[in-house]
Subunit: 201 residues, 4 copies
DNA sequence: GATGAATGAGCCTTCATTCAT
DNA sequence: TATGAATGAAGGCTCATTCAT
């Protein structure tokens, strides 16, 4: 891979990735041909192979890209002093994002990656990382909640955190399949879980 | 496709499906070639195409097969008088199934189908059906719970049901990606949700 | 090939040939699969291969069948004392036959064989034979015409005969391609050729 | 099919068509595999499919190619003031062409197309067009002949034109099947038809 | 003889990738 | 670097033919 003018190169790479993302979201990894990406990007085969060694590397790069997006959602938690409000903020941010066209497109790709993870070590790594990070943040919040006495000390923060992530993964699935999906219903259900782990008076 | 006698046909079909399932679980739909299935089944191309018109039809059939398996898990609910116990039974049955080799294999295929649903109408139908059925059963149980006064009348049974299903879908994902997964932790988290919707005293 | 009960066998053969003929006329040799013939005949693969060693042999047999049909048209000439009337009778018989559904079907197959003749020695033999026979009969008639003084002695009977046959082959082609075709126009043109070879007064 | 630059494209297309033509003339459309064409052209599968979408499209293109060749023969008529000489010129040009290796090869393909026309609408169109054009030219010549008083006013120019074309189609068939064929005999027979439609004195 | 499920060579076509310009 | 024509391995599928029942 070339090393001239990193600035331009990065821009080109991004151009290609954006095109690939559009194709992948539309037709999936396997249905998308390099030709599709070429057409979408308005570039040439040679050019793309100058920036990515193979289709797989392109998919990989798309995966990394997605990563950042999800990580950003977690930022919502940082601002709240109350850990439970932090959790609510994360949940709300996710639900909002899921309703935006851009967010949906991103998650269509995520679902591809989830399936791909089963047979690509590197992608699995990525995907798992995409779970661990929110789990870590949520776990942290729950622990703070326990310290503050608003979360039941009996619960295992990590497994609740993973459960919350699981819940939202399931929401994503149902949303992507076109099931009617209500953010407020989802939020209410989330609150139920929160109240389930709250300290009993 | 020549019309085959029902006698041998069903057995042969099953044989082929079993082989396909093994391949699909191992390598995914797209990485699996018909040749792979042929080798696995110990049959010939012509024979397979005598039973399934195309690779897509094979995938479709695999999807239907999976369907049955999930439906069976719901049977767990039928025996319990207490609706909450019914829910617990379903959860437990799912978690147990997820730990069996056979159950895992089946879910590896499920994940393929979840992704495939994004661009195959028919598969999406199947997958959505695979959500609706458990949602219906769970909704029913929650409603009975409300009538019996053990479930908070304020909750929306259907959205809680969908949340529960979502939770388990997320568990499946995490399990498939090789995250250390504890059934009892999952069950505890489930109980937390249950207590979150229980009638407050 | 078996040799039991020649009577039944011949009937079976005929049944198969009739089915094959129908398929071939409808879709051509190459587009017709053995399965098509099987379906049309209401028999089984094994049965057909009990009577014909291969698809090529079936085509061959169809060719022979067609042969007889054309030969019958020549019979028209036998009854007329006047050789020119004999020619007219042959021409008329051919034109009439070409308007019948059955005759057209037969010629659709003929055209297949004409093309096939280019690369199958045996079929070429058949096809050439299908030209030689009418040419022989017509030549004979023309020679009688010359002897009787109604046909110009300067003409070469054989080459005129071949020309007449060529003319009708061309008519067949045009008819098969769906060009509007008038028997009487064709007959008039034929008369023109006849008058062109008549003895000049 | 990627869009290729017109520069190389035309040449490459021609190269492929020439190779295909050689194969088709030798073995017919159906016996010729794309591999054969690839080998003959010294190219690759991908390259061929970059220029022709399918084998059928290749056949189609070959048909169009043949078209031009026949049309060129009609040019022979343009130079002669005498319409009958024009007809003779067309006849002679056809007969000469039929004796050349190149002409024969072209007609072997024509015969394939004639048969193919029975079940391919587009090819039938082409083939019929290949009849109509010479028929139109000849009809015109005959009409001029009638106006000049050298052709009998009683004859129908169009049906005579079609008969002439039919005659030559038949000649082509017989020639292709390897029947000894004499151009001068054919020409003499043609003259007989001409004299048959000449004005009687 | 008849049946029809099974065979498997081989066909058409696609598409990730390369490389001369 | 970018281009885009060319490559060719490999995939899905067909269909003439066989053979155990």
């Amino acid at each position: 891979m070339p090393k001239l003018k990193p600035a331009t190169m990065a821009a080109r790479r991004d151009e290609i990735l954006r095109a690939a993302e559009a194709c992948f979201a539309r037709q999936g990894f396997h249905q998308t041909t390099i030709s599709d990406v070429i057409a979408e990007a308005g570039l040439s085969a040679g050019c793309i192979y100058g920036h990515f060694a193979s289709k797989d590397e392109l998919i990989q790069a798309i995966g990394e890209r997605r990563h950042g997006r999800d990580a950003a959602l977690l930022a919502a938690a940082r601002d709240s002093a109350d850990p439970l409000d932090g959790l609510r903020a994360i949940a709300r941010a996710s639900l909002v994002d899921m309703q935006k066209e851009e967010g949906l497109r991103s998650r269509r790709i995520a679902l591809q990656l989830w399936a791909e993870a089963l047979r690509d070590e590197a992608i699995c790594e990525q995907v798992v990382d995409g779970v661990r990070k929110p789990v870590a943040v949520i776990t942290e919040l729950l622990q703070r909640g326990q310290r503050l006495g608003v979360v039941d000390r009996a619960v295992n923060p990590r497994s609740i955190a993973r459960t919350m992530v699981a819940m939202f993964q399931g929401f994503v699935l149902q949303r992507l399949w076109g099931e009617p999906f209500s953010s407020s219903d989802a939020m209410t259900a989330f609150e139920a879980l929160l109240s389930g782990i709250a300290t009993r008076r």
